[in-house]
Amino acid sequence: MTTICILYPELLGTYGDGGNGLAVYERARRRGIDVELISVGLNDTVPDASLYLLGGGEDGPQRLAADLLRTSSFGSRVRDGAYVVAVCAGLQILGLTFCVEGDDEYEGLGLVDVVTSRGERRSVGELATRVDGQLLVGFENHGGRTTLSGGVNALGTVVKGRGNDAKLDGYRTKNIWATYAHGPVLAMNPWFCDEILASVVGAELDPITSAADLLYQERCRVLSS
């Protein structure tokens, strides 16, 4: 059984982030993979899962999510190789520090060597990132500016929008994918969702067609014009 776990949707689920869990689950189910989708509430303990999903949230909830994760088994599970997809505030929480409520620095989980400061202005709009020759399309809405330390690879280079710093977007480690494209980024980018799913189940996937194929083509057309 492959377990996909959405962490604290009450705190980190502002921008349709539940769409990411739904997309991975559904693309697995259609291929006959034995899969379950669960979510962890504020009073639940973090269960064992193959893939954890972190969404976006407002300042206070983001701080609380960081605190809850810090005292849970999440960090050790990720260090042991559990897969993670983190977007928006989720991306910031996994790093060393992030900023909330003005410029107050807050301690992250320290799982990735990145820091997030307050950007000069909020980044709101379409985001397109070139990832390994493919386009990743989505929407960003955040106030952060994320700096990667020398050893950390970005997820991709920004084609449209701002991402981390108007040049790079997100980061990629051997078991973590992070992007500023929030919410349904996995739903909108079937190739990216399948790449993650293939890693999680450790097998090549049969191709499937879905409504997302047409949406992805349309968004690529719009964003590269």
Partner: protein
């Protein structure tokens, strides 16, 4: 007031009326907002001078502003000045206020403009309906809005102001609890996704049955003034709501509108009769004809609005049409489609319309809902029954414009 100020205001009022008329004649919208913008440049204090001496009721919140304001207008009876086209920022308020000089004024107010409008209109009553995620690319964060409401109510110096507030929405309670004399309404409120984490301490709020509380002590108010059950009880007086419009949310809207009217001493029995008779509000809930189809038009702009509207659909396997745009007035980011409980539509076939029909189709596909993408609507197969059309803001206006009564 200095003489020059009065003169300046008068010049501005004439200018607005002229621009309203010209823009109507040239067919550029209804004219209200364009006219209002011209006037605001001439006299920034115009709203204040235009509302002086009049009884003002304001209505704000994420969903139900337009409907509730219409209910206040109808329930009040007689002539009431209002911004019925939904132009709910200062320019729209000015445009409405110069058009008629009635003693009674009911204005719907954009959530972000509540503080300014409290200061400029000095209302007798402000109705706070609900707060939930909506157009996040424009408004950013809903908790931040609640904080701004709270600050505005805290500093407002008119102690006679009555705040009619939804006791079942923790974000609204957080804003309104700073007023000692808040008038709390116990109305059904099903959308709690934005109030699961406490606005005071961020810990989890427990929602149990018809109540809610946090470990920090923040809880649903106890001194309830209006309670909506099978019957509606306002300040001990019982009235029967028999609305012509569907939906539990409209019963909540009516409760808050009637409570506001009770606060300005309107007879409840007469007010409720007038509110019960409203059939549609600016086309919402209206039954229209289009290309041989009979359509019921339903406006739903955000997850909580959609959840409420989905609950009004007939419990059968009839087709449902959904139209989604992402233009300026809708917000450019349709991510919120994943927060809508479309799974309620399993068993129906859903036709996807609008600029962002592929975003909608993708959402439905992942939710295992039967869908059809309509690229060319001239070839829609005839439907035997009335079709429910759910549409967000500009998509709704498109359907209202292309259909006939």
């Amino acid at each position: 007031m200095a003489k020059s100020t009065i003169l300046r205001d008068r010049v501005a009022a004439v200018a607005i009326r002229t621009v309203n008329r010209v823009s109507r004649m040239t067919g550029r919208g209804s004219g209200t907002v364009i006219g209002g913008r011209v006037g605001m440049k001439i006299a920034p204090d115009l709203v204040t001078s235009l509302t002086r001496g009049r009884t003002v009721i304001l209505v704000s919140g994420t969903n139900g502003k337009t409907t509730t304001t219409s209910m206040v207008v109808a329930g009040w009876g007689g002539s009431v000045t209002t911004n019925e086209t939904g132009a709910n920022m200062p320019a729209g308020h000015v445009a409405a206020l110069v058009e008629s000089k009635n003693d009674h004024v009911a204005l719907e107010v954009d959530e972000a403009w509540l503080g300014d409008t409290l200061t400029s209109t000095r209302p007798h009553v402000v109705v706070l309906l609900n707060l939930s995620r909506d157009q996040l690319d424009r408004a950013n964060e809903v908790r931040h809005l609640a904080e701004r409401w709270r600050k505005a109510l805290e500093v407002h110096d008119d102690t006679n102001l009555l705040v009619v507030a939804n006791a079942n929405d923790p974000l609204v309670v957080y804003a309104a609890e700073v007023r000692a004399n808040a008038v709390w309404c116990d109305v059904p409120t099903t959308w709690i996704a934005d109030a699961l984490s406490c606005p005071k301490c961020t810990l989890a709020i427990s929602h149990v049955g018809n109540s809610w509380h946090c470990t920090c002590g923040f809880a649903k108010p106890v001194a309830l003034t209006a309670i909506l059950g099978d019957e509606l009880v306002i300040d001990g007086a019982t009235v029967t709501l028999e609305l012509s419009m569907p939906g539990e949310f409209n019963r909540s809207n009516a409760t808050m509108a009637l409570t506001a009217l009770h606060c300005v001493d309107i007879d409840l029995d007469e007010a409720v009769r007038r509110v019960n008779a409203i059939h549609s509000v600016v086309g919402r809930f209206s039954v229209r004809r289009w290309n041989g189809h009979t359509l019921r038009l339903l406006l739903a702009k955000n997850p909580s609005g959609f959840a409420a509207m989905l609950a009004t659909l007939p419990d059968d396997d009839s087709d449902v049409w959904v139209a989604i745009n992402a233009r300026v007035a809708d917000g450019h980011d349709p991510s919120w489609l994943y927060d809508v409980p479309f799974e309620l539509l399993r068993g129906h076939r859903v036709y996807c319309f609008g600029d962002r029909r592929l975003d909608l189709a993708t959402r439905l596909d992942y939710g295992q809902i039967d869908y059809v993408v309509v690229d060319d609507d001239s070839s829609m197969p005839a439907s035997k029954d009335t079709v429910s059309v759910l549409a967000n803001y500009t998509a709704f206006n498109d359907w209202l414009g292309r259909s006939v009564p």
